[in-house]
């Protein structure tokens, strides 16, 4: 067990390194000179050389990368071009707002998706399976940004039950999810965000449960006289590692991929920050947000792998 954990953690390090290389190179795939934004258009060649030197752009690329990496490791992501605040502050503020959404969307969508999939898988081929499978396909195919707009049209424009956008009276500071006047701003984004994970989880769980139910050991369990409920428990436990892998990916999606939903609801989270950074061509913020979110994603995958190995000892031996 200890060896597996160590190996898995060691494996995450080169991945994290590769991720930072990709994030670093984002500046260089941007069209034009990265200095364009800070340089006056009529700067002389001499000035350009001085500024280049000051920013370290005259050094060879691998050197620049190491310097950048050294700063990033100490938490210095540079300054936002748009707001002149440290990128790390912008990102951490935004990430906490996204985490707030995820705190509600994750349990809700995981629970509903898992139950739907488990029921469908247990009754594979029956009408309830067809209903769940159909609903899951709808969930997977829904453009969630559109769903958000439709929900706003119905609940905010037509019936005026829920607020359309934003985070409520006090904004992100002092947001109190236990108080309805604040919490009602959460409802539509959370519902919108949950739709895709529900569909994906229902599909995965259904496939996993149906597959495990066809294995020989289930027959053995029945033959030795276990009740149907006890058999189901065995089946669910055995299908769990596969489901958890997908849950991990979806967790990462809820943290990082909610950019479209946050844009629709102008929820000041990491996705919204990202879309603002794109509009403003604020490369440091773009870089910092993407690096942070992907590192969170790498860490999530690591934790999921370790949890899987706890549940299923076969994984450790592989």
């Amino acid at each position: 067990m200890g060896r597996y954990i160590l190996r898995r953690i060691l494996y995450a390090i080169p991945i994290a390194f590769g991720v930072s290389v990709v994030c670093f190179s984002l500046v260089y795939i941007a069209p034009g000179d990265p200095l364009q934004t800070v340089m006056p258009p009529d700067a002389t060649a001499e000035t350009i050389a001085i500024v280049k030197h000051a920013y370290g752009f005259d050094k060879p690329l691998p050197m620049q990368f190491l310097i950048w990496l050294g700063r990033v490791v100490t938490g210095d992501f540079g300054m936002s071009i748009a707001t002149r605040r440290p990128v790390i502050r912008e990102v951490s503020d935004a990430l906490s707002n996204t985490a707030l959404l995820a705190m509600f969307a994750v349990p809700i969508s995981f629970f509903i998706g898992y139950v739907m999939g488990a029921v469908a898988g247990s009754f594979a081929g029956r009408w309830i399976d067809r209903v769940v499978t159909g609903a899951a396909v709808v969930g997977v195919s829904l453009p969630n940004y559109w769903l958000g707009i439709v929900l706003v049209i119905f609940f905010a424009v037509q019936y005026m039950l829920l607020p359309a956008t934003g985070m409520g009276p006090t904004g992100s500071a002092g947001f109190n999810p236990l108080h309805w006047s604040h919490a009602k701003f959460l409802v539509l984004p959370v519902v919108t965000l949950s739709m895709i994970p529900v569909g994906i989880l229902a599909r995965t769980t259904r496939a996993a449960v149906a597959e495990v139910r066809n294995q020989d050991f289930v027959q053995t369990l029945r033959a030795k006289g276990l009740s149907e409920w006890a058999v189901t428990r065995h089946v669910l436990k055995n299908s769990l590692p596969q489901v958890m892998a997908v849950m991990g990916l979806q967790f990462g999606y809820l943290l990082g991929g909610s950019i479209l939903v946050e844009t629709v609801f102008t929820w000041p989270g990491s996705g919204f920050l990202l879309s603002k950074a794109i509009i403003n061509r604020d490369v440091p913020v773009l870089q910092g947000t993407i690096l942070t979110l992907s590192l969170v994603f790498v860490a999530t995958n690591l934790i999921v792998d370790l949890l899987q190995s706890l549940i299923d000892p076969r994984i450790r031996r592989a």
């Binding site: 984002l26 424009v157 994906i200 950019i259 629709v264 773009l286 993407i290 979110l293 792998d305 592989a318």
Partner: protein, 356 residues
């Protein structure tokens, strides 16, 4: 949206039980699949079981066919692989209906210039944001007074193009890398796959947004970003399939009889890899349409005034208080297209009996 892209790789990830299990299952099937052979087709007629791994090789056929002759019920009409695929497709009304819908959507987009009642770029100051059926505009008008139906028809061209082109490119590049890596194995494979792992570490939406955002949007950049997003899963898919096939005896036999590596890849490996790659590609089309519209929605894809469903949704979003239902239309088009593609892909997967 991240979904299908991530589901498969998770199972095929190195060190997870997925790979070993699939391989052993495949081998069991080649050895002779008594359960499948006895499994009657929907109309009660026993079907010729199709081995999950198809070798274009006589040794393999000799190995399986006598087995069926003993086990299978007598007087079975033996169908070839494609015959049984079409047989199953013909008896799957859901897939057929949705395939017809996909065809209609494609035709509507292709023949948009003939079908559209108005010029999709013609603006009108008095006719802005009008509801359904206003002065011969069956689906109303947008914020610049352009006819919605015409724009939706023309928008389908752009949206479908952005849905299909990245998937095609990624299947080509990713599939090739995966087959080469899987076939050569060793360090080359490790190098390719570890590079792909890095791109896996990004949630797919995020990666697409990051690349398109850094490159500054536009239709070509959007398609390039999506291609880069789809290459890693496609590569992993092809690599897994190739590695599985490579371990089988008929490849060894071909090698022993002196076949060149390229010949083995062409005749023995590709036949087994193209199926899963094709199915996976078909499932990515819907993801790609959703992501592409998402990029346009964020202003990173198609640029105005070109009609694109994602872009239309994003500009009309400002007007939901005026004509809410007109504003919802482009999203509805994305949704319908995506669900049809998904269901057709599911049907194809079942018909082609591809395990992933």
């Amino acid at each position: 949206m991240t979904d299908d892209l991530s589901v498969i790789p998770a199972q095929a990830a190195p060190g997870l039980p997925g790979r070993g299990r699939v391989a052993s299952e495949a081998r069991r099937q080649v050895g002779g699949a008594p359960t499948a052979a006895l499994d009657p087709s929907p109309d009660g007629q026993p079907l010729q079981a199709v081995p999950a791994i198809r070798g274009g090789d006589d040794a393999n056929k000799q190995q399986t066919e006598p087995f069926f002759a003993e086990q299978a019920l007598p007087a079975t009409r033996v169908r070839g692989y494609w015959q049984s695929v079409f047989y199953r497709l013909r008896h799957d009304p859901v897939t057929l209906v949705f395939a017809a819908m996909v065809l209609m959507i494609v035709l509507a987009a292709v023949f948009a210039p003939f079908l559209a009642p108005f010029d999709p770029y013609k603006e009108s100051i008095v006719g802005r944001l009008k509801p359904f059926g206003w002065r011969g505009h069956p689906l109303g008008t947008d914020e610049l007074g352009r006819d919605m139906l015409s724009r939706l028809l023309f928008g389908g061209r752009v949206s479908l193009l952005m849905g299909v082109v990245p998937v095609l490119l990624a299947s080509l590049v990713g599939g090739m890398l995966g087959v080469i890596g899987g076939f050569i194995g060793g360090r080359t494979n490790t190098a390719i796959m570890r590079t792909m792992d890095v791109f896996y570490a990004f949630p797919s939406v995020l990666l697409a947004v990051a690349i398109a955002g850094a490159m500054g949007g536009g239709m070509a950049n959007g398609m390039l970003a999506l291609t880069l997003v789809f290459i890693p899963p496609m590569c992993r898919m092809a690599e897994t399939a190739t590695t599985q096939v490579r371990a089988l005896d008929f490849i060894e036999a071909a090698r022993a009889s002196g076949a060149q590596p390229m010949t083995i890849i062409r005749y023995h490996v590709l036949g087994n890899v193209l199926g899963p790659v094709f199915i996976y590609a078909s499932s990515l089309v819907s993801v790609s349409i959703l992501l592409a519209s998402g990029l346009s929605f964020l202003g990173l894809g198609v640029r105005p005034p070109l009609p694109d469903w994602g872009l239309m949704l994003s500009t009309l979003r400002q007007s939901i208080y005026v004509v809410p239902f007109v504003c919802a239309l482009p999203g509805l088009a994305i949704f319908i297209t995506s669900i049809c593609c998904n269901l057709v892909s599911d049907g194809l997967r079942a018909a082609m009996d591809v395990r992933m």
